[in-house]
């Protein structure tokens, strides 16, 4: 990473910028926007970035009031994995300290793989950080446990909808939306051009293109993996269905439906074509990406961070990869999961105000863009997206469009953390790939286990 960090960050800068334009257009088209984002039903995610007009002006001028500022806060940030990102964050902390006399920010980095356990340990052991970055699928879980303070910000109109949705429990928002990203289809232009193929726009296109590639080349058209449910779960949406519906304490799984069965059947179809090796049953997204980076696959579902890693690993692919929105399913949509992070203030913190101020500071356009440019995600605020400038990078623009126009959040329920932790989707996918469950039964199994989690 150290060798290539610079050129990559340049990349991010330009594509994040592309996203800005899109967000602006989207916001312009979207108009009004709903007052609360908790309803998981509609698939309008992102299109109505609420209250763009108000946000644009307010976000720039955060009040420099420093009365509550004195004191020390401990801030947990997910381990960025490279020094450039760490530097951006430590610089931000220093800038904040300079602005707020008497305030001290202690940044502590926590590895992703251990973060959930560390949060549980901190809460259970009675010593929590004041502010923390939290994966957006975990926020409802810890909010429901009473661990998090609600967000009451004047800037909340500026927040990107899908992140508001994923941080809202019972109508209250528990996380400052920091950043988000979405997966699209990454494909090899050299192979597609040679075979005269177009980038697939529907599930059927994908299968047809895959058949041609399988016939004409030694390269696998696309790999599916047993442990990559961010590829599989959104297919339920693409097929026109829902993962779950409800709000508050009462949620119902909706995977045992026509759309659910169609999604699992399509994933199984990709698997049964024999394009993926036997070992793919236990592969995860990193294995899929490694295979693509090695030139062994013509397409993959991945995010901007994946593409950056691929080109970093195998610079030879530069110029022969392109991106396109995820193919549309029978439900007529291309939605995917908007993954990202919130900044959350802990209820037990004795410096909640200062922690909240630092969160707001990190969400200021200047800070947020400096950070997201480094990590390959988009800012969680409209003003942030806006501030990232204007230009287009074809390669990365797709991810921005995907996020802003075609992304949603997983059901924002406390139970989702348990569903993820219990590996409901990977388990079932693997059983299906091993032939133990047919797609319909797999969908029913997921449904049943989700309901079990919802019922506590």
């Amino acid at each position: 990473m150290t060798h290539r960090g610079r050129s990559q960050s340049g990349r991010f800068r330009t594509w994040a910028v592309g996203a800005a334009l899109l967000a602006l257009t989207a916001a312009a088209c979207g108009g009004g926007g709903t007052d609360e984002g908790a309803a998981g039903g509609t698939d309008a995610a992102g299109t109505d970035a609420a209250g763009i007009d108000a946000a644009g002006t307010e976000a720039a001028g955060t009040e420099a009031a420093g009365d509550v500022a004195a004191g020390e806060i401990t801030v947990w940030i997910m381990q960025p994995g490279n020094e450039e990102v760490e530097t951006v964050l430590t610089d931000a902390a220093e800038a904040f300290e300079a602005e707020h006399e008497g305030a001290t920010v202690a940044l502590e980095f926590v590895p992703w793989a251990n973060a959930h356990d560390q949060f549980v340990t901190a809460i259970g052991g009675g010593q929590v950080p004041d502010l923390a970055e939290m994966g957006n699928t975990w926020t409802p879980e810890f909010a429901e446990l009473g661990g998090l303070a609600t967000v009451d910000s004047e800037q909340s109109g500026d927040y990107i909808d899908s992140l508001v949705e994923s941080g809202t429990v019972d109508g209250a928002l528990y996380g400052y939306p920091w950043y988000a990203g979405a997966r699209s289809l990454i494909y090899r232009t050299d192979i597609f051009d040679e075979l005269g193929l177009e980038a697939p726009q529907t599930w059927d296109d994908l299968l047809a293109a895959g058949d041609t590639i399988a016939e004409e080349t030694d390269v696998a058209p696309i790999h599916v993996a047993g442990d990559y449910y961010h590829m599989l779960a959104p297919m339920v949406w693409q097929a026109g269905g829902e993962l779950a519906t409800g709000e508050g304490d009462s949620w119902t799984a909706e995977v045992d439906s026509d759309a659910g069965a169609q999604a699992f059947a399509f994933y199984n179809e990709l698997w049964e074509r024999g394009w993926s090796p036997d070992g793919a049953v236990t592969w995860n997204s990193v294995d899929v990406r490694d295979a693509f980076a090695n030139g062994d696959a013509a397409m993959m579902v991945g995010g901007g961070w994946d593409l950056a890693a691929i080109l970093g690993t195998n610079p030879d692919l530069e110029g022969s990869v392109a991106t396109t929105l995820l193919p549309e399913g029978p439900g007529g949509n291309r939605d995917t999961f908007a993954g990202g992070s919130h900044l959350v203030v802990f209820e037990e913190s004795d410096a909640k105000e200062l922690a909240g101020e630092f969160a707001e500071f990190l969400l200021e356009p200047e800070q947020i863009t400096a950070f997201t440019e480094q990590i390959g995600f988009l800012p969680g605020t409209v003003s942030g997206v806006e501030a990232s400038g204007a230009s287009g990078d074809e390669l990365y623009e797709t991810f921005a469009t995907q996020l802003v126009e075609h992304s949603r959040s997983y059901p924002p329920t406390a139970a989702w953390g348990a569903i993820e932790g219990d590996r409901v989707l990977p388990d079932t996918t693997q059983l299906m790939m091993q032939g133990e469950l047919d797609p319909e039964a797999a969908a029913a199994e997921v449904d049943a286990r989700m309901d079990e989690a919802f019922s506590g």
């Binding site: 549980v120 259970g124 036997d278 070992g279 348990a418 993820e420 932790g421 590996r423 693997q430």
Partner: protein, 330 residues
């Protein structure tokens, strides 16, 4: 085992080291030294260790036992309420087929790893106890698996066993086993546990080998020489002289290996995460999953108590098996 507790102070009794007062002058001094040697010293020597161990671990262990009888979520840990549920966590475990499978898996796989580790460890120690050129070098080389950082070891082993880009498959294919082309190690249980077992043994045999080598070095040469002169071959020396002398140490090593191998977490988590579809799940993974992802600390504590019970039984069995010789009863 004779107890000193009831013996009158100051009177030499039996073959215990207590009877020696020859160096002292005067009855009172002898008595006090005697008291010191027999009553105070042993406890003084043990006290720091006990203090260190129980000061930190005592409460967590007691807490685990307590929680195992309760329905305890995360709030319970911070002083919130929890309901006493009697044995229901335990009955939940006993009636869940997946849990039962996990117990069988853990015991079978754990014992297999112990056997593998011990056999390899003993073999290596015996080998290193022989004179040959390069012995010192090998002595350090075999310790290296132990020194390798776990993150690096896990990553490298994952690569080595990767179905597409792994060196293991590449090597097997290169020497003619063409069926290993793209062989998926982690898709079914037996090969997955084989791969994990290799990693476990690789990481734990150095400890056994090193300890046994140290034990072998402590055996006085003349015992071995005498046996040789009497016509014993190397195998007989090993079988009848060396190993019996090392029995107390072997017992310790078997017990420790068992504790480690039954508690295996990292290697499984890194290589398979317990998958596919929970087929390679072992007890510590299940316990972690219940505690940290389902936040069911009552059930997790009950699982921990079950692990404790199994390990206790096995340890006691081991000790019984070797007690006649020396074991714990000396």
């Amino acid at each position: 085992m004779t107890s000193t507790r009831t013996r009158p102070l100051g009177r030499p009794a039996g073959p215990t080291p207590g009877g020696r007062g020859t160096g002292g002058s005067g009855r009172g001094r002898r008595w006090s030294r005697h008291w010191f040697d027999n009553r105070a010293l042993p406890r003084l020597l043990v006290a720091p260790a006990l203090l260190l161990i129980f000061a930190l671990i005592g409460y967590p262990v007691a807490r685990t036992l307590w929680l195992s009888f309760h329905d305890a979520g995360l709030p319970a840990l911070t002083g919130g309420g929890m309901d006493f549920v009697g044995l229901s966590n335990y009955t939940d475990i006993a009636t869940d087929p997946q849990m039962r499978r996990v117990f069988v898996t853990t015991v079978v796989f754990g014992l297999a790893c112990v056997v593998g580790t011990m056999v390899l460890g003993i073999a290596v120690a015996l080998l290193l106890n022989r004179p040959f050129r390069g012995r010192a070098l090998l002595g350090v080389l075999v310790l290296l698996p132990w020194a390798m950082p776990k993150v690096a070891a896990a990553t490298v082993w994952r690569w080595l066993f990767h179905d597409q880009y792994g060196l293991v498959n590449w090597g097997l294919v290169s020497v003619g086993f063409s069926s290993f082309e793209g062989y998926a190690w982690f898709v079914s249980r037996v090969p997955a546990f084989t791969a994990i077992g290799v990693v476990v043994v690789w990481q734990s045999f150095p400890f056994v080998a090193l300890s046994l080598l140290a034990g072998l070095q402590s055996i006085a040469d003349d015992v071995v020489d005498a046996a040789r002169i009497d016509g014993a071959g190397p195998w007989q020396v090993t079988r009848h002289i060396t190993l019996p002398l090392l029995k107390p140490l072997l017992l310790v090593l078997v017990v420790i290996s068992t504790i480690w191998d039954f508690k295996i977490f990292d290697q499984v988590y890194v290589m398979t995460q317990g998958g596919p579809a929970r087929s390679t799940e072992v007890l510590s993974i299940t316990t972690w999953r219940e505690a940290f992802t389902q936040l069911d600390f009552g059930l997790a504590s009950a699982l921990a108590m079950a692990m404790f019970a199994i390990l206790s039984v096995i340890t006691v069995v081991y000790i019984r098996l070797v007690r006649e010789d020396q074991g714990l009863s000396r």
